[in-house]
């Protein structure tokens, strides 16, 4: 047996022994997603067990070093681990901005002390993080941000406000971009970390078109942040911020491949029947769904190639922008088809049968995919400039 096969067998055996049956069911709604954190209430024992088993083995962050709570897997082993998770339809043990965004930035820019201090609780799901980037006047033009940290020797006093802060009301800590030098646009921003329970931090939920309020306005009123709690260098937070955005895009773009659903057309054929020829009953919708399925299978191949290249340093640094653009546009198309396929049933907003209008709410939620983490237009700008090297601006 090759080393790879041996590792696959080992993972398979471990998953068989440790992944509870309830955690091999598709995610039905937000409640099925485990975010962890100080105040997390597990939905059931299986969710708790699954997180603890994975955290104990380093499998919440399989490719992080063991010293920081990971399993220290190589890129090839990580790929095998993910394939095996997928094979049994295992749910993610932990969804976390700490894992997706802050962790990679800490691994790249953090001091040894910071890595040990912050990464381990992230890996175990003990601290839930939120992201304080956007401000009311700074969305696509993020670098124009105004929230200011005044230098008080051993600490900063931060004032200002952030907007669209996902889960700010549920998060324990925030990673936050704060201007620390007003004279310098790019080199005047510091990447800070602080406890959301700090004095002077308040949040106010914002209601979305989906009827949910997953995010907030966040206000900072004389918040004291110790000078030990920044990443990278003072005034050079933009480097950290950009690096982190690359990982955020990678995460958001994953939606395009669409979880467990192998073929959207196949699923709908079951749901609303086939004609005598064994084909989906509506030829035009069939054609659209099949064209979509082609794009999804193709995008999955791209996802695999991107990951293989990214993890071994072969990918163009801006290629995560391309993945984000293609993946999010694809995910929006998926949900348009889900709504078409669902017909009038998919319109129901709060009935029990539709799990509280999950489809309609999900459809509306995906419209943010091409906005959050940088809009599609901004992605195209970046590709044009950084990859195609087109002139101007």
């Amino acid at each position: 047996m090759s080393e790879e096969d041996a590792f696959r067998a080992e993972v398979r055996e471990w998953l068989e022994a440790n992944c509870p049956a309830e955690m091999r069911e598709p995610v039905r709604d937000e409640g099925d997603v485990c975010w962890g954190g100080r105040n997390w209430v597990f939905k059931n024992d299986a969710q708790k067990q699954w997180l603890e088993a994975c955290a104990g083995k380093g499998y919440t962050v399989p490719d992080w070093p063991k010293a920081y709570g990971g399993a220290g897997l190589t890129p090839e082993q990580t790929k095998i681990f993910k394939q095996e998770m997928k094979r049994i339809h295992a749910r993610s043990p932990l969804d976390s901005f700490g894992i997706w965004m802050l962790g990679p930035a800490l691994l790249q820019f953090g001091t040894e002390e910071q890595k040990v201090q912050y990464l381990n609780p992230i890996a175990r799901g003990e601290i839930r993080w939120c992201q304080g980037y956007s401000e009311p006047g700074s969305g696509s033009d993020l670098v124009s941000l105004q929230t200011f940290g005044e230098d008080k020797g051993d600490h900063w006093v931060v004032n200002g406000s952030k907007i669209w802060t996902s889960y700010a009301d549920k998060a324990d800590w925030i990673f936050c971009l704060v201007r620390t030098d007003k004279a310098n646009k790019y080199q005047g921003i510091t990447f800070m970390l602080f406890d959301m329970a700090s004095k002077g931090v308040t949040t106010k939920p914002i209601l979305l078109i989906s009827g949910n309020s997953p995010f907030c306005e966040t206000f900072f009123d004389d918040v004291e942040v110790p000078k030990t709690q920044f990443i990278g260098e003072i005034n050079r937070g933009w480097d950290v911020a950009k690096y982190l955005l690359g990982h955020e895009r990678e995460m958001i773009s994953g939606g395009g491949a669409g979880g467990d659903m192998v073929s959207i057309g196949g699923a709908f054929a079951k749901a609303f029947g086939k004609n005598a020829a064994g084909e989906l009953d509506d030829p035009i919708l069939r054609a659209e769904m099949a064209a979509f399925d082609v794009d999804v299978f193709a995008y999955r191949a791209m996802g695999e190639r991107f990951m293989d290249m990214w993890k071994t340093g072969r990918a163009h640094p801006a290629s995560s922008n391309m993945m984000k653009y293609v993946g999010t546009e694809l995910n929006k198309r998926r949900h348009e088809l889900v709504m078409s396929g669902g017909g009038s049933e998919a319109l129901e907003w709060d009935s029990e049968e539709t799990n509280g209008g999950a489809r309609a709410r999900g459809w509306l939620r995906t419209k943010a995919n091409s906005i959050e983490g940088g809009t599609s237009e901004v992605m195209l700008n970046v590709i044009a400039k950084r990859i195609l090297d087109l002139p101007g601006a």
Binding site: P75, E76, K79, V262, S263, G265, G266, F268, A269, K274, E279, L280, R286, A287, M289, A290, A291, D293, V294, D295, F297, A298, Y299, A301, M302, E304, R305, F306, D308, M309, T312, R314, S319, M322, Y325, V326, E377, M379, L380, N381, I383, A384, K385, I387, L388, D389, L390, P391, G392, A393
Partner: protein, 372 residues
């Protein structure tokens, strides 16, 4: 297996890319076209291909080839696509080899070494109408003497008029059978037509063509699997060539955006064009990954290969078509001229898109394979 070229494959690319670009750039196609060359490709160039071992890349080592995979053949095809090089590589070195190697037996022993040695050009006589419908083959093979008698009409047979042998798919009593029909077989006529991309494809007539029993490739009535192998290889190869065509068109277009000025600015500064170019880049990258995935699955002999082959032909078809359409449009008036190469890319894309199943055919296949 990671989904990028390993060191050996990267080395292969490093030797093939400059070779094709120097020996057979777009001007090579132009000169063949302008002299109304009756062969449709350059025998000299094919001899150079042979010196590099390319026709025998997929031929098993036991038959004198290099025993490489579809991933490697794809590297050559992409460069052929990028340079619009007229070549029998796809039909002979990829499609025919896949069928013969799968079948084994007498015909494999006879033709595989000849292909690897650059001595044999093989044509694929599959299609019978204007559209690719391999499930509706009507050509018949009836038992006669100690062999078969073939009757029917084939179309879109690339290199059919110069091929040393044609692989003919025909109906037999109990199924489908593939035959190796030599060029000089009595009753076989090939009527070459010049296509939009200036390649030559024949209408082939089989009028009571008599072949021996050992002309059967593989076994009688059991040609379905061999045809599948031929189709999978040729479709994947055509997809790889289309990625080359699309990439070549896109590279020219992006270069043009950086040199053409209007309204006192480089047109590449206009966001309207930037966004379209960036969108095209994404589509091309996805298509490339998909084709590589299909090649990888074929090389692994995986069950998922068939689905991914259709996905690749469809996706590469869409992406390359976008590349050539945007290419002509973004070149403005000059893109409509014969003097500029971009129009030649549009023509080659059209022909490759049609070959072995167009985008719609393969999208439909994907739906069927997924049960709807």
């Amino acid at each position: 297996m990671p989904l990028y070229h390993n060191d050996d494959q990267a080395m292969l690319k490093d030797s093939v890319a400059p070779f094709v670009a120097e020996q057979a750039p777009v001007s090579h196609l132009r000169s063949l076209r302008d002299s109304a060359d009756a062969t449709g490709f350059s025998r000299d160039l094919w001899a150079q291909f042979t010196e590099m071992g390319l026709p025998g890349m997929l031929v098993p080592e036991a038959h004198g080839g290099l025993g490489m995979g579809h991933m490697e053949a794809g590297i050559v095809l992409e460069e052929i696509g990028r340079n619009l090089t007229p070549s029998p590589f796809l039909s002979t070195g990829v499609g025919a080899v896949a069928a013969l190697a799968k079948a084994g037996g007498t015909q494999a022993g006879r033709w595989l070494p000849a292909i690897a040695g650059g001595e044999a050009i093989v044509a694929l006589a599959i299609d019978e109408g204007a559209k690719h419908r391999p499930d509706r083959i009507a050509t018949t093979a009836t038992r006669a003497g100690n062999g078969f008698r073939l009757d029917g009409k084939k179309s879109f047979v690339l290199h059919g008029h110069v091929a040393d042998m044609s692989i003919v798919a025909a109906k037999t009593d109990g199924g489908l059978t593939l035959f190796a029909v030599p060029r000089d077989a009595k009753g076989l006529t090939a009527d070459p037509r010049r296509l939009v991309d200036s390649s030559l494809a024949s209408h082939v007539t089989l009028d009571g063509v008599e072949v021996d029993a050992d002309a059967v490739i593989g076994e009688i009535d059991a040609g379905g699997d061999i045809l599948d192998a031929l189709l999978a290889a040729t479709r994947t190869g055509a997809a790889a060539e289309m990625v080359g065509v699309g990439q070549g068109a896109m590279d020219r277009t992006v270069a043009y955006l950086k040199e053409r000025k209007q309204f006192g600015r480089l047109i590449g500064e206009f966001q309207g064009l930037q966004h379209r170019a960036a969108h095209l880049y994404g589509e091309m990258e996805v298509a490339r990954a998909t084709v590589m995935k299909a090649q990888q699955l074929l090389d692994e002999g995986s069950e998922g290969a068939k689905l991914m082959v259709s996905v690749a032909k469809a996706k590469a078809g869409r992406a390359a078509n976008l590349a050539v359409r945007e290419g002509v449009q973004m070149h403005g008036g000059i893109g409509m001229t014969d003097e500029y190469d971009i129009g030649l890319y549009m023509k080659r894309d059209r022909a490759l898109a049609e070959y072995m199943g167009d985008v719609h055919y393969h999208i439909d296949q994907v739906a069927r394979m997924n049960g709807y």
